[in-house]
Symmetry: D3
Subunit: 132 residues, 6 copies
Amino acid sequence: MATVRLLSDEEASAEALAVFEDIRATRGTDFINNFWRALAHDPQLLAATWARLKTVMAPGALDPLTKEMIYLAVSTANSCTYCIHSHTAAARAKGMSEAQYAELLRVIGMAMQTNGLVTAMQVPVDEEFRVE
Amino acid sequence: MATVRLLSDEEASAEALAVFEDIRATRGTDFINNFWRALAHDPQLLAATWARLKTVMAPGALDPLTKEMIYLAVSTANSCTYCIHSHTAAARAKGMSEAQYAELLRVIGMAMQTNGLVTAMQVPVDEEFRVE
Amino acid sequence: MATVRLLSDEEASAEALAVFEDIRATRGTDFINNFWRALAHDPQLLAATWARLKTVMAPGALDPLTKEMIYLAVSTANSCTYCIHSHTAAARAKGMSEAQYAELLRVIGMAMQTNGLVTAMQVPVDEEFRVE
Amino acid sequence: MATVRLLSDEEASAEALAVFEDIRATRGTDFINNFWRALAHDPQLLAATWARLKTVMAPGALDPLTKEMIYLAVSTANSCTYCIHSHTAAARAKGMSEAQYAELLRVIGMAMQTNGLVTAMQVPVDEEFRVE
Amino acid sequence: MATVRLLSDEEASAEALAVFEDIRATRGTDFINNFWRALAHDPQLLAATWARLKTVMAPGALDPLTKEMIYLAVSTANSCTYCIHSHTAAARAKGMSEAQYAELLRVIGMAMQTNGLVTAMQVPVDEEFRVE
Amino acid sequence: MATVRLLSDEEASAEALAVFEDIRATRGTDFINNFWRALAHDPQLLAATWARLKTVMAPGALDPLTKEMIYLAVSTANSCTYCIHSHTAAARAKGMSEAQYAELLRVIGMAMQTNGLVTAMQVPVDEEFRVE
């Protein structure tokens, strides 16, 4: 249950609908997931978020699957249920194997554990890690 | 300033020192960073953490650099200052280019932003993301 | 599904019921939301929490709607599902317009994003921000 | 100590410098705070972040001070040291009185407390908070 | 709804099943909760996690109930719904009284509140708290 | 560096000073730690926070040391540097042995790890954990 209604294509404004159409064209599917239907209440935010996401997640120095796994790692640490589901699905759609997923989970668990230990002991940063 | 003293080689127990030696041999360096010197107060936890880290971060279905970037993403979302410094240094040591780092930062920023929007609106998970 | 049963008026102790009655009188409604019914297991905590909330959220140097939006911002960053729903409803009841809500969401998204970037880069605090 | 060097005007690229100039012109000051100097390593991210911030924080349905206080609330819940300092300074520069600041702190403390209680008890969302 | 299927005894590998059997023997019950069924996709992670949990949660300098309450406190601050439910149930199974639970909740609420106040004001650590 | 000045006894208002005196009397020491000196800008919040803390942390169904360890666990998960230092010091002052501290750290690390795994896999709550 959301704090806003999810807008159907019929309810979305022309500006929001134009973003929906670009999402469909870019992804090659008719499916618009709920995040965008919720954001459609603010077409400007919808357009800015989609434009930025398209740029950020495009292939570059990092491949799209690596980016999805990083996205998923952040979303997990932030306990974002929706984000975890959508980016797990996206990572699988981009070819994440079960072996890769298992290793991703191991790294997340390891990082969470040492984050907790380091923070509890307030370990000071080594001089060796200093930049310049 | 830590909540425990960082143990020098001279202060560490034989069990802790054995872990230090394995860290040195595995990494090919004499340097022992502060996290391990803090953990040395509990040699059993030190040994268990190092053994697990060595397994988890080894090359596998994901390469070591990808694992470091995922570790860094989790550490950032958890605001773990020490972990951010040590895993940024580790990622660079494993070959992370400035272009890769820039893209990592972009993905982290993007994920944080949409995590916030999704959580604020409590977007319900799409049926399409359901597993089985 | 909660970790405690939600207490009905019939099940609540006299001390808890007295708090329920003050909530009803203060808000001008018969409705007692689930948070208070869960807290009723510990009448002292219930009474202390309600007393403090009434003071903190009263009009003062900040108006009640501004306070609700700040409450909602914190609850979002903490991923508190119940709190997000209840304080979004409260903000709307206190007159939050859809335009105000949209801007609130934009600020939350922006803050989350720059929080992530700043934390990842561990930006040092400028001397100019120092107090005295 | 940051994970990147803070770029001086002399070290910044032409694209980054153009953003610095727009920050200076918009804010009517020569001062460029460290966040932008850190981001300058990625001029595209710098430009996109500044452009978005300028839009989001402009006066609208919410006034700039209210926006700063919401930003500060999110930054606090995320434990972002730099962000807390910079947005506290910004809120004061925009006229936040000590009385307003005191009430902001009270609301943050109250929200944190009830976030914890609600989450620990996993209070279910009331039907009354449902949208439509 | 999980991002992985929960494996039944029939679907689990021999290695995973051996862990299930140890869980059953250790706990003296046939019941295997969902966390282990989800982890069973990665028998090595399942085995490592269970082995570590058995060691960490065993009676020692702290009694098992105190450990469960600490576990629950961390899980609450991390907003881990499943963990909150499972460790509340475990604490009750280990004898947590309603009076103890009420005090646990009070401490969690108090800690969250002062964490927020301290972080918002960025209170510097007293020299008196320094170790050596 | 704080966002407020820490008030000396000379600068504190009469109302704040009365709280300082009660802290001194209750703890049997002249030392007032920085948290209270920062809160002194808002004597009402100072008084309310101290009164509540005194009640919550008093011996009851849980002993004061157990409460300090729970407080520390929450503060760690929230990355509250000051709180970690002050409550580690307080726990030691209340008799926490190095063996107890080591086990506390192990539980925190374990909880962080499984919190991450559970959240990443979005494990559904078992029916067996349901209350009533």
